[in-house]
Symmetry: C2
Subunit: 513 residues, 2 copies
């Protein structure tokens, strides 16, 4: 039984969250070792003079995050892979990139032509936030404060890894809200999740500088012909289904992709282990597109796999800000900071057009990303970095998120209600978080036709078929962020009627092939 | 003799500039073919009812830009390589990248370790603008107007090549002020000159997508081992001396570098031709660091070389906004739009921290850059693109540049005067433009020691030695943008006195080796 020293401030409120935070830190810092059994919730509640429900809530949160494991008959124990692994091969996993003297690497039969699949992706998506709600006045007020207070030298070339004011605000924010294990030094500002993922893959593939050095003054070359190493590639596992828009980007960065099924607990770690991949990219907070939250069991397995195989996990913290029915589940990165690169952005919380995001990574990878930005584009524009720092520091960011969470929850409820009423054949999943739901269609329905009808009825939808590697049941992604409550019923009723009038859509059997 | 149809609006003023513009367009569009002799200035002046000086000024401007050639006894003729070449192998010069099935390419003995020479460059430089003059209030006013007027969808993912409002404003601006041959479609917004150059080199080395295509849905790969082509490299010529900060970036992008001497007419084109390089990067408006403006003769030779060898010219439009003693010389790109990629930014005109720039390129390269940004970082943040568009459209940008030009000219004059008075041993060059001058030290002076003394006296200086490939006389780069007029005399006097008190600095002979 662990000897717990928990400091709880009853007056401060949020006691369950306080207990969870204390326990999380204890696990993370090694004070609670793997396998240690925690007091029964009833005992701990009595010791602390709290109601049992509060302790249960704290335990459940940590089980969901993968820090604790709860088993009938055994009680609650610290998860095997949680906390800082004792003897990890530190730094950049060298095994990830192919040997620099090798001229061969896995090819990608899907991209015989360099032009294939490379259309840039922009424009509205079913998963876009409601951009009418962008806080223009508050953003302008932050810009006004920033321009009034900014020292002159801040307008010069900045740290390519991001201005420190923003890295400090975000590190504090991610530690608090996402239970991330982060300091300003291992957080790098990037131009959104796309750039964060691209640079991370390049780092793992050995394509980025890995250390700082003096200026190389003998920088010219007389023409000499001899072999140059080909940039490395890595085998990167991605979930099936997954968002296809990021895939060309990942391949261009040096990743050969392999599909691993995601079921209703998230990615299948056993299947992952079978691929031989040395890195995996996934969306644990809200799987894209299914909306599944990675289960506690899978979290633990995934970390175990990464530690055992010296692999890295790329955590796309997709939609993490919008969790409706319970506290957000902490990020994977907080569970294994040496094994995870956490990438997030303000694209869902504020607007994609801001192109501001972050990557939290082990020190050597973070250093590579920073150096890479110094070579590539000299970092993100500084003014808006200061504005975002101000926006977070003043609490405007939290207030905006709370307002949007309320609004999106109401819109989700309206859409789910309408679907249940008018299209009960559709199974709705993944609704506890995010800006879209996963609508499974009955066997035989034709995705493309339903998408066409739904768009005619003003619904924001995307077919899931193209996101699948292995075939699966027909399904749609339905966005609710931009669908006002009062329009949901009408839109779904119109869709039901359009589908009813075309019975063949609802009952057409898929033809083989 | 050419039959000229020149439309001149006397009431509009700037008649010489009008004539220059008309003639430039006539050459560019092929109405005035290479070799055609223009009317004598006296004749044309009489025909147009203008003073001869006006025509002479227009001719001189076009000679300086390389559109015309003036030879004693022959008169003024259209330059051989000016205008659109008749039968160019169109599009991306395929010969630039090494064959994809070759695993060999020129190696770079200067970079045996991947980490060498890769320290990102930031912080203050001798060439930085005066950031105290950043127009904070006007910038905020543009932001206010932008946020008030911006349509909702503009906050979503934008065109990765840049928002059209800004591309239109900049295309018009660069055509007007830099005599660039540009439309909004062949202009791509980039995060500064660094990113523009990096992506251009990647395009020439065959590392970027070259065409749009449908989404590649068969995007997974089973692990298959067979050879993958190594990304191409190009042999890129750079000027000697040159700014060293960009060189690691260029090498990382796929360039093997070869040095070509720059003399007091700019780059030596004959030496360039001898290198076998298929691309060259240079600073024609104000050579960095010597301050030389590329001569008309060299401009013509350079274009001829590029056409004859199917090569590309990367024009870093460095310091082009600040030309003090005459009209700016038009950019090279305006002379041969098929052969030149023009890269510029607002780093000198507004602030480096904005990370906003442009690349003007032949359509296929421009298309590659746009696609590459779609894969890499999804483009630059949109809000500040709209703000800059507003800033240019309202004339605030021009007003700011005019104000700064006056201020910088006064500071330059004060520094040049003080150097002439207190340190006549120093030969000052490259003062007609830019934010720094080139100070040649007498034989035997020690650069590093003078730099140390100069910094103690409050002067912003950099040694030129590290920028040289071949040895050259000791010299400094001296910035004047941030040196108020009233402090120049005092600072230079202090330097003279510090050097006088240490005679060994002024008269020490260089030791061999």
């Amino acid at each position: 039984m662990a000897d717990l020293h928990l400091v709880v401030d009853r007056a401060a409120g949020g006691v369950a969250a306080q207990i969870a935070r204390e326990l999380r830190e204890a696990v993370r810092r090694g004070r609670l070792a793997a396998g240690v059994r925690l007091p029964a919730s009833r005992e701990l509640a009595r010791d602390l003079g709290l109601s049992r429900g509060v302790v249960v809530e704290a335990y459940e949160q940590l089980v969901a995050e993968g820090f604790l494991i709860s088993r009938t008959g055994v009680g609650t124990t610290v998860a095997p892979a949680a906390g800082r692994p004792a003897a990890l091969p530190g730094g950049l996993p060298g095994g990830l990139s192919r040997p620099p003297d090798s001229a061969t690497s896995p090819a990608d039969p899907g991209s015989t032509s360099p032009a294939e699949g490379r259309e840039p992706y922009h424009g509205r998506r079913s998963t876009s936030p409601d951009l009418r709600a962008f806080p223009r006045e508050r953003w302008l007020a932050s810009m006004r404060r920033t321009l009034a207070a900014l020292p002159v030298e801040a307008l010069d070339y900045g740290d390519p890894g991001g201005v420190s004011a923003l890295r400090e605000e975000l590190a504090a924010y991610l530690g608090r809200v996402r239970a991330a294990d982060v300091t300003p030094d291992n957080l790098v500002i990037v131009g959104g999740v796309a750039q964060g993922l691209s640079l991370t893959v390049q780092a793992l593939a050995g394509r980025l500088p890995q250390a700082r050095a003096h200026h190389d003054l003998d920088w010219f070359v007389r023409r000499v012909e001899h072999p140059v190493p080909s940039p490395g590639r890595i085998l990167l596992a991605v979930e099936d289904p997954a968002g296809v828009r990021q895939l060309p980007l990942l391949r261009a960065a040096g990743a050969d992709l392999v599909a691993v099924p995601a079921d209703d607990e998230g990615i299948d770690v056993e299947a992952l282990a079978g691929t031989g991949a040395r890195a995996v990219m996934l969306t644990p907070a809200h799987q894209y597109p299914t909306g599944v939250v990675l289960s506690p069991r899978r979290r633990a397995e995934l970390i175990e796999w990464a530690v055992a195989t010296d692999a890295m996990i790329l955590e796309d913290d997709y939609d993490a800000e919008f969790r409706f029915d319970r506290d957000p589940v902490g990020c994977l990165q907080g569970l294994a900071a040496d094994r995870v690169v956490l990438v997030g952005s303000v694209s869902k919380s504020l607007a994609p057009g801001l192109r501001l995001g972050w990557a939290v990574a082990p020190p050597r990878i973070a250093g590579s990303l920073r150096l890479a930005r110094g070579e590539l584009d000299m970092g993100s524009p500084v003014l808006e970095q200061y504005v975002l720092a101000d926006f977070v520091a003043t609490g405007d960011y939290d207030r905006h998120l709370r307002r949007m969470r309320r609004q999106y929850r109401a819109r989700r409820d309206a859409l789910v209600l309408a679907l249940g009423e008018h299209l009960p054949e559709i199974t709705v999943r993944g609704v506890s978080a995010g800006l879209n739901l996963f609508a499974e269609l009955p066997y035989g329905w034709d995705e493309a036709s339903v998408v066409a009808r739904a768009e005619e009825c003003g619904l924001a939808v995307e077919p899931v078929g193209p996101m699948r590697h292995a075939p699966g049941p027909p399904a749609l992604l339905m966005g609710f962020a931009r669908l006002p409550e009062h329009r949901a019923d009408q839109a779904v009723r119109a869709l039901a009627s359009a589908l009813g009038a075309r019975g063949e859509l609802r009952f057409r059997l898929e033809t083989p092939g």
